[in-house]
Symmetry: C2
Subunit: 405 residues, 2 copies
């Protein structure tokens, strides 16, 4: 079970968005694995994609389609990543867009394809074709929960967040869903996430809002340091609400961005809470660095250290491993005598070694919790950054030795 | 059991080197955990140390002592790393040097201290003091095997290599021992290693020889990406043999360097073969890169990917994970259509995806072996590099959740 997350909250319908999830038999029989999301005409769309050089075929196609037309549909399958599939993979992704376009009367370029699952198997486009008819017939404003479930792979729970706010006195809704539990590392959104709103937002304002939100959320999480080939995060504003068009200069733009950032942060944290084999949710805060870059460098070195992660799994207040990870993070001229490290509020390291006042039982008390904050004060500047991660358990190894991603 | 390594070979005595190993009760009762290595007068000594900013107290002291005097003794304990111990740690390391100096009549600066084991516990210097008398009495040219065993921590086997060669017609011996099984990542020698020879080599030639050898051996291995606080690799030339003094310009210098490099490579590979929880010994070769740096970047990204490592553990020819790791290695302008990836001689990836001729049973045949070579051809230059690594098993997690390093 995910840490500190018991069940999917109610996901509010978003005006201008309809969803359907059906079983296409892509990898397993009788499992819903194909999602269609319909977007109102003239919706605005922003997106960020994986930076993996071997990006999947649907990522290439979705990028291209976005540059050509305003999208009307998103077509998402789980069970098959259509990655590492070369030229045929591109043809298959394009074919699946054409199939949905034919059934709905839009142009193929108005369909954005997304895939997640096993790498390197050909996408079974005939099965997708056969399932599309039923999917289109089932499109509903209330399809969010089913869609959130259908995009899961090794996730143990469906992940979604809804939020409402007022823009110029008009209520608007934001609903987002995401999937991801492994192959998670910050380099753009390391998973799939779809966030929609009925607010009206210009395309450039929407893209700026999404990039900022992703930077503080999906780009601040790591499970295993592996960046997937298929990551994508899409933000759609249908403009169906009565709220006026937001642009970057609008008085409400910041409030809107804050709300989107909050939804992204919640979704990103859900991914870590549901990380493969995870038993702890760990926030790692670096403070007092020269700049963002070195704060992240330290935080990620700690977050990705297998020795720190196994100590967290063992609930062992093994501050020596945290200290060793900070020491190897590669910071120039780090004055180790100025470094302080805390487990929650317990100071474990200062003056170049174990804090004199530190008592093992204080560290143990923190480590026994399932949500832990490791705070590293570098004592050399004003920058700070936080990343979120999980521990490393035998179960992680078992899942990834058995599952073929 | 280590992969492809059944037992310690006979370790040849080296003229001018005597060793003793005794039980000082540093962490466990009745376990040999203290080693003294005596070096002939006028021995030359080269060394490289960890680059971890939180380096251990003995590393600081050994560096300083080396800069002052030619060493007569090395004092090594397992069970306690004397790292993260602040000012008191430095005093303890110095005290242990004084204790051995008093018993042997040398200056304290002629003792190099080394520690390995748990981080952050005070070094029990009184117990070391009490054990030193017995150690000095037992010094013997035949103490190599006992010393190799006494420096072990989570190692399952003692690690050592001997080699002989002729320099200007005179036989010389090289014998080296090492310890290390976890917290292993390339950034200088991520472990302890002691290599000695009775050859006569100038200090500068010896340091150059060691740095070259370490770069191609201990700096080419990774188990978990964690750089220890205590790493050290020492090369001593006692000059006791009849061979003439080697300097950088000498006709035999290259042959000597090759022999040292070979010993270092064997010791480094032994560390990977004995990696915590390892079931596979994996060579990762990047070919056709622009330069060394990018070849290593790709090789280490693959070598440290938890998803690749768990697939190796499962003997799963999951080439998609290898491809994804190559793709996220951060190489600018990588043309994925030019990349080829091989498991031993089986081509698994070309033309941007799975090789058309690849058959799963061919990949499976390679994966079923316990020594595997992953070869990545980047197709954009003439540089190549190899690193050695292990897989990631549940046993690695178990060991590191239970052991307090």
């Amino acid at each position: 079970m995910p840490i500190g997350y018991t069940e999917l909250p109610v996901l509010l319908p978003v005006g201008g968005v309809r969803l359907a999830a059906v079983a296409a038999g892509i990898r397993y029989p009788d499992r819903k694995d194909l999602v269609v999301i319909e977007l109102a005409e003239n919706s605005h769309c922003a997106a960020v994609f994986t930076r993996n050089a071997f990006c999947a075929a649907p990522v290439t196609v979705a990028r291209q389609h976005l540059s050509l037309q305003s999208p009307r549909f998103m077509l998402i399958n789980s069970g098959n990543a259509n990655a590492g599939t070369g030229k045929r993979g591109l043809e298959d992704a394009l074919a699946s867009c054409r199939m949905l376009a034919q059934r709905t009367g839009c142009a193929p370029e108005q369909v954005l394809p997304f895939s997640t699952g096993v790498i390197g198997e050909p996408l079974p486009v005939e099965r997708i074709d056969a399932a599309l008819e039923g999917a289109v017939a089932q499109l509903s404003e209330h399809g969010w929960e089913r869609a959130a479930r259908a995009i899961m792979t090794t996730d143990t729970v469906a992940k979604g967040v809804s939020k409402t706010l007022e823009l110029s006195g008009h209520p608007v809704v934001i609903t987002g869903i995401a999937k991801g539990a492994g192959m998670i590392r910050p380099d753009m959104a390391t998973m799939l996430a779809y966030i929609t709103t009925d607010a009206s937002v210009s395309v450039s304002a929407l893209q700026g809002c999404l990039e900022g939100a992703v930077e503080g959320s999906f780009n601040r999480i790591t499970v295993d340091g592996d960046t997937s080939t298929n990551d994508a995060c899409v933000l759609v504003a249908t403009g169906v609400s009565a709220a006026p068009l937001l642009d970057v200069g609008h008085a409400d733009y910041q409030a809107f961005c804050d709300a989107i950032a909050d939804v992204c942060r919640q979704l990103a944290q859900l991914i870590v809470r549901d990380a493969e084999g995870a038993t702890k949710f760990v926030s790692i805060c670096t403070e007092g660095g020269h700049d963002t870059q070195e704060c992240l460098q330290v935080a990620y070195t700690v977050a990705q250290s297998p020795l720190v992660k196994t100590a967290l799994y063992a609930s062992d207040p093994n501050w020596g491993r945290i200290l060793a990870a900070v020491g190897r993070a590669g910071l120039l001229d780090l004055d180790v005598d100025k470094v302080r490290i805390f487990l929650d509020e317990v100071c474990i390291v200062r003056d170049g070694g174990r804090a004199p006042e530190y008592r093992e039982e204080d560290g143990q008390r923190v480590m026994d919790k399932d949500e832990i904050r490791i705070r590293i004060q570098l004592g050399r500047g004003g920058a700070s950054e936080t990343v979120w991660t999980s521990d490393l358990s035998e179960e992680y190894v078992r899942i990834n030795a058995e599952y073929r991603s």
